[in-house]
Symmetry: C2
């Protein structure tokens, strides 16, 4: 049978029913079930059984109302000026979200995934106990809003301009960039270019800073293309095409997002350039598409599950009034070398 909208079924068991069934007061039931007050073990057990027996499920609303917490956490991508980065990296976001969802559920919270909020009120309309903001852009009004209301916020990636304040989880993008650049150099690259988004999010800024520093150390002139419109294949294609018209053109490109990299790959191949024969290509984020590309792309695995887990964990600490062990957590990364940067690799 499907449930008809106008079904009137018996109302669900309440704490009062449990109290009656167990022959105690509702106070005792509440305490017994939540492990709060001082309750004899036998009583606790009796209450538990009674609750189970009659299929008691506490009402989240009542609990929130009385306890002051909703049990909801928000996870949102910060609102960029436009849709630039939204869903730029589906795989990354999905894995991060999944890990955070699971962590939240294990702690008794539900995680609401809010989309990029053009309308800042979205984040304020749903009543959440805390929020994870992925890749915050500096001075995001909706983050400020949340903080004003006393809602704890953990960001993945730092808020540029207020690095020390706030709680965040991040990768060490500077280190990973150097790692990748060194790898490209070791594979024989003489002129490494960078394609990235604008430095409105911390990882783009980190990439640019690390790249610039790396070039300076070697006396190279930086060769950078910034994608400002859409961080999709098309954007990467255009940026790479521009790079190839420089003289001398780059013989290796490090790209900030996997979709940009896939676009860059197309651009190279469209010009008859072989990857990795003529140009080496590596990306800062990994994905199924990068793995499946021809040739498969060397990429930095940022460990999105770790990030999502850590962020949720930190947020829950904050929500429950515990001081997190560290205000800032830097998570490890891993360079996954694939054919796109292997000079020795056989071309398919």
């Amino acid at each position: 049978m499907t449930a008809s909208p106008s079904d009137d079924r018996p109302r669900p068991a309440s704490i009062r029913d449990v109290a009656e069934a167990a022959g105690v007061s509702i106070t005792t039931v509440s305490h017994a079930l939540n492990g709060k007050g001082r309750i004899a073990a036998s009583t606790r057990e009796r209450v538990r059984r009674a609750a189970k027996e009659i299929g008691y499920r506490p009402s989240a609303s009542a609990r929130s109302l009385a306890g002051g917490r909703t049990g909801l956490l928000a996870l949102s991508v910060s609102s960029p000026t436009d849709l630039l980065l939204s869903l730029a990296d589906v795989d990354y976001f999905m894995q991060l979200t999944n890990a955070a969802t699971i962590t939240a559920l294990e702690a008794g919270y539900a995680l609401v995934t809010l989309p990029v909020a053009k309308d800042e009120s979205l984040l304020t309309r749903v009543n959440v106990d805390g929020a994870v903001i992925v890749d915050p852009v500096a001075r995001d009004p909706s983050i400020a809003h949340l903080r004003e209301r006393g809602v704890p916020v953990v960001t993945t990636g730092r808020e540029l301009g207020s690095e020390e304040r706030g709680w965040w989880v991040d990768n060490d993008h500077r280190a990973s960039t150097r790692w990748a650049l060194d790898h490209l150099e070791a594979q024989g690259a003489k002129r490494v270019a960078l394609i990235t988004g604008p430095p409105i999010v911390s990882y783009s800024a980190d990439l640019i800073a690390a790249y610039t520093g790396w070039c300076a150390e070697r006396g190279y002139e930086p060769l950078t293309e910034t994608v400002t419109r859409s961080a999709t294949e098309a954007g990467g294609y255009a940026a790479a095409t521009r790079l190839f018209t420089r003289s001398p053109p780059p013989d290796a490109i490090y790209v900030g997002l996997d979709r940009l990299a896939l676009g860059a790959l197309l651009a190279a191949q469209a010009r008859g350039l072989s990857v990795p024969g003529d140009v080496l290509l590596a990306a800062c984020t990994d994905s199924a598409a990068s793995r499946a590309a021809d040739p498969p792309l060397t990429a930095v695995n940022l460990g999105p599950e770790r990030i999502g887990h850590a962020a949720a964990e930190m947020l829950i600490d904050l929500v429950e009034g515990r001081e997190p062990a560290e205000a800032h957590r830097v998570m490890p990364v891993e360079l996954v070398v694939r054919d796109s940067t292997e000079r020795m690799a056989a071309r398919v």
Copy 2:
């Protein structure tokens, strides 16, 4: 300033504060703000202004408790026997989810994305007003659970065995399969094979049925491989490899999921078979990876946004006690022809 966990800020404005500010009772405030009772236009306006002035935001918990609704909708992938299909199709799922989230928010609901629930209690732990279940497997206990509790459920894809009951949104997979198969035939295929998951979800069953029927009409012997383990590239690779050992081997493969198709592509190329030269390849779902593959894969675009939107819309109708216009909605699909099935296409 970041919010410290032990911040004690003034408690947020309640309906009582608004009532006081506007010089009316809380009943009037409630009615004015929700457009319920009969309120003089002037009073309504005065209340609205007062509410805005003091920054009143109704408490979702209190509202749920009193009104009996939580304002939460769940979206979940049905629990398959194992992780078989979970996230098989990230792109599809993501787009569907996003559309549903937006639709929900526009109607004043928040959408909670619940992960594949090994533990059936997950779906029951969060108190939701309704649930969208993506690709339900037959007799999923958590769906039954929800229905028992009177929680409306809309599925995307049908529940096999109870097709007529229940509300669902689906694609016409039989039609799209025939479309794709006809296309393969038109491109010269003489022996078309099928790779798909086991028929525990309706679209797999539809694919198999449509394929079998199509073969029967032509007097062909069906050539099917079922992926039972994991619907990833590896699974597709293995299935395709098995197909190529048949004699005669297929000269075209229609694949149920994009990741399986990408695996099949790898398998073909690993055996030195050219796509589309020696084997045509088409997939039932589209994705960025399919587009970016070499060659790009012909695929059926199922319109996940449309599905997500329609499902959320239908669910909200049910939650709010309206009878949806139709109990079953079949959404259009589109065959996107790319190089992998173009006999005429130049090989890269």
